[in-house]
Symmetry: C2
Subunit: 107 residues, 2 copies
DNA sequence: CGTTTCCCATCGTTTATCGATGGAAGCACG
DNA sequence: CGTGCTTCCATCGATAAACGATGGGAAACG
């Protein structure tokens, strides 16, 4: 039931989910859903392509490991460059939101 | 230089530009650019398809007229249904923004 | 055992936006 | 009068992002 998220924000959301430490894909999806109180519902078919992008750009690294309960899982970790990217996307996002709100509050 | 706007928000922005009265396409683009202080830069090739969508959905109507300086121009006007749509999109947008900000402020 | 939960991932489709392009009509200027 | 700038319309093809459907394997759970 949770609606589509705003396109263009997925990479930022994923990077943001990794600031507190590495997570695996499934964990990222759950984290987003939980923190947003079910507003954001990222399907895995959106998530994994996003993670591929982030890997390609060097914004995260991946490492196989074991999840809390003995299952194999691929942990994604924010790199220094990823942190910069996150900051940049955040700034840009705020800029946009502000601009949009100016328009919306009429003037 | 003004960057891409957030995808998915264009319809809302266009509808929002019409709350104060009818405008023609070119005027909408200028209005957005001006109010947002050059942050939003909607190309006409993004704008006209959007206007077509809005027409198809009955959220705006179009009427030919003359612009301030003797040029032929097509004026787009918000309908009642368009006003409802705008309100709905606004609510949804706020919901998303709030959710995203929750994620971004860590937690 | 069978089912659920966890966790990975790909493929094909859809949809939005953009860049490039084209045209016509008024205006300003030399 | 011609040239070019601004205004205003619009379409087309490419690109990229996100989604739905789908598939599979391995641990845990009853």
């Amino acid at each position: 039931m949770g609606n589509d998220l705003l396109p263009g924000t997925l990479d930022m959301l994923v990077l943001g989910s990794l600031t507190r430490g590495p997570r695996h894909g499934y964990g990222i999806a759950q984290h987003l859903k939980k923190i947003s109180e079910d507003v954001l519902d990222v399907g895995e078919s959106s998530l994994y392509p996003a993670l591929q992008r982030l890997l390609l750009n060097g914004w995260v690294t991946a490492e196989w490991g074991a999840s809390e309960n003995n299952r194999r899982a691929r942990y994604y970790k924010l790199t220094a460059s990823g942190r910069k990217q996150l900051a940049a996307e955040n700034r840009e996002f705020d800029r946009m939101i502000l601009a949009i709100q100016k328009v919306m509050s009429c003037a």
